[in-house]
Symmetry: C2
Subunit: 311 residues, 2 copies
């Protein structure tokens, strides 16, 4: 990859933004971030990152970045839980869609030609039980998913101004660095935190639901590879393993890595929860030469080790 570049990574106090910022710094680039610290932690912002505290949907914050000349903008910030989006849908729209408008305008004003966006598999909603590809009809089930759909449309509209955008539809991201204190965001981190803290995993929903899990390092790789994309048009990629993993399998994998007796209880459901989804990664493999390197078993083992050592 290129070095000595200047990148904006919004949300560098969060799980994904922090990992991406760290990688970009290590490769010898300058990184600037905006983060409101609403769910992220200032301590997670890698040393060396220039930090602007505030909302990406706040023009007075975004305006301060007009002095930079960014080689690319990675827009990662935003409320990231479907469930939590039901608490305050208006806030969710602002954090997940209005923010994108302001940052695209910033890109235009500062002559930044590349915009990479953390979208989500939540844009799909419930789909037939086969690998979903990027052409599927979008039926988001949460307000969170709706804001991400709107942002994707904004990226497409902005391509007429010469800004090449890429929407990375992230499937279930997990790994070291995920917030174990937030029991409403991140399926793996929620179950793992319950297992370590309470010795009981309470699952809201069916054990036969399924997901497609992707390890944080692979996610960072995908973002980095997207910088090499040489096209003027808006692109959308599923960032996923292509492997269907049930909730039951996930829980068994966590349990097999923990040397304790853990109860598992199933009850209720979660607002905006998709029953099952896994993705087709043909397109990202072909265009970005990306495929996940960390298997689910290895990733869960790494994450349990990391979490156990935190205690």
């Amino acid at each position: 990859m290129n070095t000595n570049m200047t990148y904006l990574v919004t949300g560098a106090a969060g799980f994904i933004g922090s990992a991406l910022a760290k990688r970009l710094l290590i490769e010898g680039n300058k990184v600037i971030t905006i983060d409101n610290l609403s769910t992220g932690f200032e301590t997670a912002i890698p040393e060396g990152v220039e930090f602007f505290k505030g909302d990406c949907q706040d023009y007075s914050i975004v305006k301060q970045l007009e002095k930079y000349s960014f080689d690319a903008i990675f827009h990662i910030a935003g409320q990231s839980s479907g469930e939590i989006s039901f608490d305050d849908p208006v806030y969710d729209l602002q954090t997940n869609a209005q923010s994108t408008l302001l940052l695209l305008k910033l890109a235009l004003k500062t002559n930044c030609k590349k915009f990479i966006y953390a979208s989500t598999m939540s844009v799909y909603g419930d789909q037939p039980d086969h690998k979903v590809n990027e052409e599927a009809m979008l039926k988001p089930k949460s307000f969170y998913g709706v804001g991400k759909v709107a942002s994707e449309h904004y990226l497409r509209i902005y391509q007429q101004y010469g800004i090449q955008s890429t929407a990375m539809r992230l499937f279930n991201v997990y790994g070291p660095g995920q917030n174990l204190k937030n029991l409403r965001q991140g399926m793996v981190s929620i179950f793992l935190a319950m297992a370590l803290n309470d010795k009981t995993i309470c699952v809201k929903g069916d054990k036969n639901r399924f997901r497609d899990f992707v390890y944080i390092d692979d996610i960072v790789d995908a973002f980095i590879n997207s910088l090499e994309l040489n096209t003027p048009v808006f692109k959308i990629y599923n960032v996923c393993s292509g492997i269907k993993t049930t909730i039951e399998t996930l829980i068994n994998s966590i349990l097999s890595n923990i040397q304790k007796n853990i109860n598992v209880e199933y009850s209720g459901s979660t607002p905006g929860d998709q029953f099952g989804i896994y993705g087709d990664n043909t397109l990202i493999k072909k265009d970005l030469n990306w495929s996940p390197k960390i298997s689910f078993m290895e990733g869960i083992s790494n994450m349990v080790n990391w979490a156990s050592n935190l205690k």
Copy 2:
């Protein structure tokens, strides 16, 4: 239709909201409106309508309506030009999407079970040259279209709370009452105003572009019929004639009704303009027993007569 009902019609100072409110009043119902008068006129609000001045995306305004018990909410208000949405995309998101969230919340709070929404053919963007139906992939080309897409998703999500919503995807609406002072909104009214005032019609874009025109009275009929829909699920309908009319045909129709020499000049283009679109109205014919009653020739003649007598 039912009488003695209480309806909220947002945007009753505007072209469509005003016509709908008038019809509902004539049928013996109570009508309340919110309008910010940003493009509508207070004089267009039919006498007898209770008027709250302000934005539908402003919670302090919407909250004042919690004292009512609405039989249905018709959400018609909102910036309605694709072109104008490029001036201030953030405002457009608020007026066209955030407003819907607040009104859906109002519906939930006041136990209103029916929500009818003025969506648009702009959600489709460019489509292959055949009648577009409601299942088409959405690729809006304007920020206006994106806000409408988001709102449709919100309506679908809210069906789980027992609110039956209907999105009416209005194609090119025209007719008496349309604002002849706004030269950036409403294809028919723009060309007609130019013809009457300037003796030159300046067309931004190709004469072979095409649209599907629907007369205002037919639009009102469609909204009224939607009240009879008996289903718990979210519905989407194209409100269109199914007839493809080119810009050239539209202009010739206007000219043939005006006894003056008018120049026509073609140049440039309009941001977010769709090249051509016309709709399939099979679904609304079947479910709502609706079809347009006013032919294009009759409608244009009515409108030219109306506009000529204004002068």
